[in-house]
């Protein structure tokens, strides 16, 4: 069970207070009507399934109800960082590999 730092509450809380909400940084196209079916399908359904570093959206559902991003290693389940919506991750897959 994860121990997750909520960047809004500024505290570690138990995973039971949170829900995962899928991959982060999936931006809704600004002009959906201009998208082809393929583009729209990719936006809706296609998600990364990496072994290693992954950026995920979580919500502090039983807490402040805020969404935020988590960089997590899907192999070790380590949480490398949390950051707010609108921010960019500092831990990314390439950086880890070059370590």
């Amino acid at each position: 069970m994860f121990h997750i730092y909520c960047p809004h509450c500024c505290e570690y809380r138990e995973e039971e207070e949170f829900h995962a909400a899928g991959q982060s940084h999936i931006a809704r196209p600004l002009d959906p009507d201009a998208c082809t079916d393929k583009e729209w399908g990719e936006f809706m359904y296609f998600r990364a399934n990496p072994r290693g570093i992954h950026h995920e959206l979580w919500v502090h559902a039983a807490g402040c109800r805020k969404y935020f991003n988590v960089t997590r290693d899907t192999q070790t389940y380590e949480i490398n960082e949390v950051y707010k919506v609108g921010e960019q991750p500092t831990v990314v897959a390439n950086a880890i590999q070059s370590k």
Binding site: H3, H19, A27, P32, D37, R65, Q75, Y77
Partner: protein, 1005 residues
């Protein structure tokens, strides 16, 4: 019964406290301080079960969690049955009732044993896969047979009367295991002021020191243990948990502990006490001091009762004062196990011989054995044990240097006990739970914990540091490391001086050869619990299984509650040899939680019965109960389903409620409807983006129905939203969908459109909502308010603030029944007052309470959908015939707009929601029935859609139904057929789903 194997003195038992217990229906006596296993051995009970596959008689092999055979069913009554209890871990108490989990008709005379004897060759590894595959229809028969034969214990048939508990814990350091390493670590951490939890599976702290004759500072080791325990108990921040198995090590240093509170001394927890407690621990640092398990050697008939692990024999002698036999043969590949022969000898019993696989053993214990005149046979091995229900003798033969071939004549010797030791395997199970792979250490011939991402430290035998001196030192240094990480300062800890022991080099030996090839030799067991033999592993390798993970699954080695505690390394060594690899090349399987079986009671804790799941009640709940309502679960809500009167059947009650509502006035408790308060200058814009229809022009005081879709264009919720003020709206959702809709709004606001100024608050529980519906609803409302609720002042889809029954209310003129309706919302704590006031004035109108079922019927008569019943995530608004609720002209591309225009969403012949008018008006279609266009078509018939809603309508005196039909909106007047499982075929005409008042005249009055 006499305790024939009990010594006159010695051990940590209290001979003044005799305890009577029952095993397999017979009464025995033991002492306080015994485990069930030590008491059985004291009484000379040899057979404690029958083996899994071959049903061979089995005896106690070990003394701790690694015991593979003595798996008991414990419980004096049906309600207190606990399966899968290891006799070696169950403290003895007066009145304990235990039994073997397998063996029929009894463990001493077992019918399956014959099958095992005759069928040994017929049950190779993969037996179940090979034999029970065909025919498929027989699988259920096979399964029950296997389960009965396998003796996996049984669950109680009655409710457990005991209370179980859960506790969340936080600490700086948790120390798993209270042997020398764990105690030294705990002392170090405690003195530095850290918050410490130390847990141990045994009933007292001390680990190996409790069963050892070793001296610390020249005194018995147990004295040092007592001093440490005494000091630890003086610290407020140290939690000591004996009888507590740390069963799981999960991500981010989360550990679960099963603490036995009263089930170690009572069948039922004494009044008010907790039987077991489950600790959920979040630790900043973890120190694993879990020790090691001694490996038995693998030789012929090594499962005959009387064959034991060497150290277990010492434990029974030193800790429990029990010598489990008279004549011992000890077989070993290392010096350490000589201690067992010394203990046996010193207890006054006969050591027949020490059989050492090495040519020239030397060291402290070897010298001690020689001093006692014990015969040592070097360069030899016990190749086979004799006897069936108890060892009667052994065959000993000289081995070659590699230990893989017999090189001389066999000597037979009489003995009743064979103790064996192939060295020690560190208990790395917990370190593996988080995915860390163990690494092989050639010096100790065992796997030790590998790299981990957890904040984990290890100390003592788990690292292969087997001496007490090493364990103590590593305990201190592990705790010191943790303190450094925690930014705490270590205080002085002076360790006691351990005895200096000269250990000779151990030999890497796992499998003792026989004169016959393994496949023809007497069975050589590797995993007792799963009946996996050396020849079975060899066969698996010959059949092409090369990965150790596959060998494991094919042979079942390390399965189940055993988790490979005794047998895994031996099995891997045998597989490695077959595959011409080293053990590290072969690798190891890893272990998963739980380390030992956990009772469901401990996992459930108090979350059972009424506390299993929260129940939500409306403010008027007590009234519904008093009125005799039947309830329906909607999410966590308890909603009145219908209100039967007298001896009414459900249908009679529904008919009465439906007729009364349309004839005069009915009332529904609608408080459970999800309500979300939406405020902010961009609230209106936001609504336009999440609903399919237009919101830009909705004036203050008006309500509007809206559909909510996903990005795929599929409907997922609906409801009425009202404009309370220019920047203030109240959204209603389905009762079950409220939480989902709120998080849906939040995720779009927070991640996509943070620039919009809008705020969402769940206000579901703030309001009591009662809907009065029917032609007399206005007259009833007028009795309770001075406000002008006439058609002229309060039109359909208006809402007005007013005073109702003396309290402020929001009244919405919206309708889910098609009747003139008012939805009265008052502050929740006034709900009951207003509800009762309505009934006080409602008598003259025959005000009738109705529940969710009547609500469903009334709305179905009007063709109103219920999201989640008439939608299933695969239908868009056009499929529902609700194009009127979609505004394609809105400037912002609302959620769902692009999705519902995808190729598949705009194709011909999609399933569309239509009304279904049965040709026989009395026939009520079952919901879920599949429709076909040609009932005579060959099976499988092409199906065109299913019935979503179907009811008997008392108002129309016929059935009403809705359902999906392919291309249904263009098939009005055509027929569709519903062949049912009972052979009937119900024929229906496709029609508009609005069965009653298609012009809407009843609600516009």
């Amino acid at each position: 019964m006499t305790q024939k194997n009990r010594l006159q003195d010695g051990g940590r038992i209290d001979r003044s406290k005799a305890l009577t217990f029952t095993y397999n229906g017979k009464k025995y006596t033991g002492f306080e301080g015994d485990t069930l296993a030590s008491a059985l051995l004291a009484n000379g009970v040899d057979i404690i079960g029958r083996s899994f596959k071959y049903s061979r008689p089995r005896g106690i092999v070990a003394a701790g969690a690694e015991e593979p055979n003595a798996i008991m069913q414990v419980g004096a009554t049906e309600a207190t049955q606990i399966p899968n209890v290891r006799a070696t871990q169950q403290s003895l108490y007066g009145g304990l009732v235990a039994g073997s989990t397998n063996g029929w008709p009894s463990v001493d005379n077992d019918m399956m044993g014959l099958v095992g004897k005759v069928g040994g060759k017929m049950m190779p590894p993969g037996f179940y896969y090979k034999t029970f595959m065909y025919p498929k229809s027989m699988w259920e028969t096979y399964e029950s047979f296997i389960r009965k034969a396998a003796g996996l214990g049984r669950a109680p048939k009655e409710n457990d009367p005991d209370i179980y508990d859960k506790m969340n814990q936080h600490c700086d350091v948790i120390i798993v295991g209270a042997g020398p390493a764990g105690l030294a670590a705990a002392l170090t951490a405690a003195r530095a002021g850290a918050r410490v939890i130390i847990a141990d599976e045994q009933n007292e702290f001390g680990g190996s020191l409790l069963s050892s004759t070793e001296l610390l500072d020249g005194k018995p080791a147990a004295e040092w243990v007592a001093d440490v325990v005494k000091e630890l108990s003086t610290y407020d921040d140290v939690l000591m948990l004996p009888n507590s198995q740390v069963n799981g090590y999960h991500d981010h240093n989360f550990l679960t502990i099963q603490q036995h509170c009263t089930d170690q001394f009572a069948d039922r927890a004494p009044n008010g006490q907790v039987a077991q407690r489950y600790h959920r621990v979040r630790a900043k640092w973890v120190v694993l001091a879990t020790g090691a398990h001694e490996r038995p050697l693998v030789y012929g008939n090594n499962d005959v009762p009387g064959c034991m692990v060497a150290n277990a024999v010492s434990t029974y002698i030193n800790r429990y004062g029990v010598v489990p036999g008279k004549n011992l043969v000890l077989m070993t590949s290392n010096n350490n196990a000589y201690r067992t022969a010394l203990d046996w000898h010193d207890a006054g019993r006969n050591v027949v011989a020490i059989v050492d696989s090495r040519k020239n053993p030397q060291g402290t214990f070897v010298d001690a054995a020689r001093e006692r005149g014990i015969s040592i046979m070097v360069g030899s091995g016990v190749i086979e044990a004799h006897g069936s229900k108890r060892v009667t003798g052994v065959s000993i033969a000289p081995l070659n240097d590699a230990g893989d071939a017999v090189v001389g004549p066999i000597i037979k010797m009489a003995a009743d006990t064979v103790a064996s030791s192939g060295g020690w395997s560190p208990v790395i199970h917990l370190s593996c739970h988080t995915g860390s792979r163990p690494v092989w250490n050639d010096d100790i011939l065992g796997f030790v914990p590998g790299t981990t991402y957890q904040k984990q430290l290890t100390a003592g035998a788990i690292n292969g540091s087997f001496t007490t001196e090493q364990a103590l030192a590593e305990g201190v240094s592990a705790a010191a490391d943790a303190l450094t990480h925690l930014g705490m300062t270590k205080k002085d800890v002076v360790l006691p001086k351990a005895e200096t022991i000269e250990e000779g080099k151990a030999m890497a030996l796992f499998h003792i050869p026989h004169t016959k090839p393994t496949s023809k030799a007497p069975k050589q067991f590797v995993d007792y619990q799963n009946d996996v033999t050396a020849s079975g592993i060899e066969l698996a390798c010959r059949e092409g299984f090369e990965s150790i993970e596959h060998v494991k699954r094919y042979t079942a080695m390390g399965f189940g509650t055993d988790q490979g505690k005794l047998g895994n390394i031996n099995g891997m060594a045998i597989a490695a040899k077959m595959l011409n690899q080293t053990i590290p090349q072969t690798g190891t399987t890893i272990f998963r939680p739980n380390y030992t079986p956990v009772t469901f009671g401990a996992i459930a804790g108090r979350d059972c019965g009424a506390l299993f799941d929260p129940e939500r009640y409306t403010a008027m709940h007590a009234w519904h109960v008093e009125r005799g309502a039947k309830f329906e679960d909607v999410g966590q809500w308890k909603r009145p389903w219908y209100y039967p009167q007298g001896n009414e059947t459900m249908q009679q009650a529904l008919d009465r409620e439906c007729l009364a509502t349309r004839k005069s006035v009915g009332i529904l408790d609608a408080s459970t409807l999800g309500k979300i308060d939406i405020q902010g200058k961009d609230a209106r814009e936001f609504l336009g983006r999440v609903y399919t229809n237009a919101w830009a022009k909705l004036p203050v005081g008006k309500c509007r129905y809206g559909l909510m879709c996903g990005e795929d264009g599929m409907v997922f919720d609906d409801g009425v939203t009202s404009c309370l003020a220019e920047n203030h709206f109240l959204m209603t959702t389905t009762s079950g969908g409220a939480a989902r809709v709120l998080s849906w709004l939040e995720i779009y606001h927070q991640t996509e459109w943070p620039e919009l100024e809008v705020f969402f608050t769940s206000v579901t529980d703030h309001w009591s909502t009662m809907t009065i519906s029917g032609p007399n609803s206005r007259k009833l409302l007028e009795k309770l308010t001075d406000y002008d609720v006439s058609k002229e002042n309060m039109a359909f889809m208006d809402w007005k603030p007013m005073t109702v029954a003396g309290v402020p209310a929001r009244v919405f003129r919206i309708s889910f029944t098609g009747e003139l309706s008012f939805e009265i919302n008052v502050q929740a704590n006034y709900g009951m007052h207003v509800w009762k006031a309505l009934f006080e004035h409602g008598e003259e109108f025959n005000l009738t309470p109705y529940g969710t079922e009547t609500m469903h019927i009334l709305r179905a008569e009007k063709g109103f959908i219920i999201a989640g019943q008439d939608t299933d995530g695969s239908v868009h608004p056009f499929d529902l015939g609700m194009s009127w609720a979609v505004s394609m002209q809105k400037p912002f591309s609302f959620i769902g707009k692009r999705g519902m225009q995808r190729e598949d969403c705009v194709r011909e012949n999609r399933k569309q929601l239509v009304g279904l008018k049965t040709i026989d008006p009395k026939a009520v279609l079952p919901e879920g029935a599949q429709g076909v266009l040609d009932p005579k078509a060959p099976i499988p018939m092409p199906m065109v859609g299913h019935v979503t809603s179907s009811y008997w309508s008392a108002n129309l005196n016929r059935s009403v139904a809705m359902g999906f039909v392919k291309g249904g909106l263009d098939k009005m007047g055509e027929r569709v057929f519903y062949p049912l499982a009972d052979g009937r075929v119900i024929e229906a005409e496709i029609c508009s789903p609005v069965f009653l008042d298609p012009k809407g005249e009843r609600q516009n009055v």
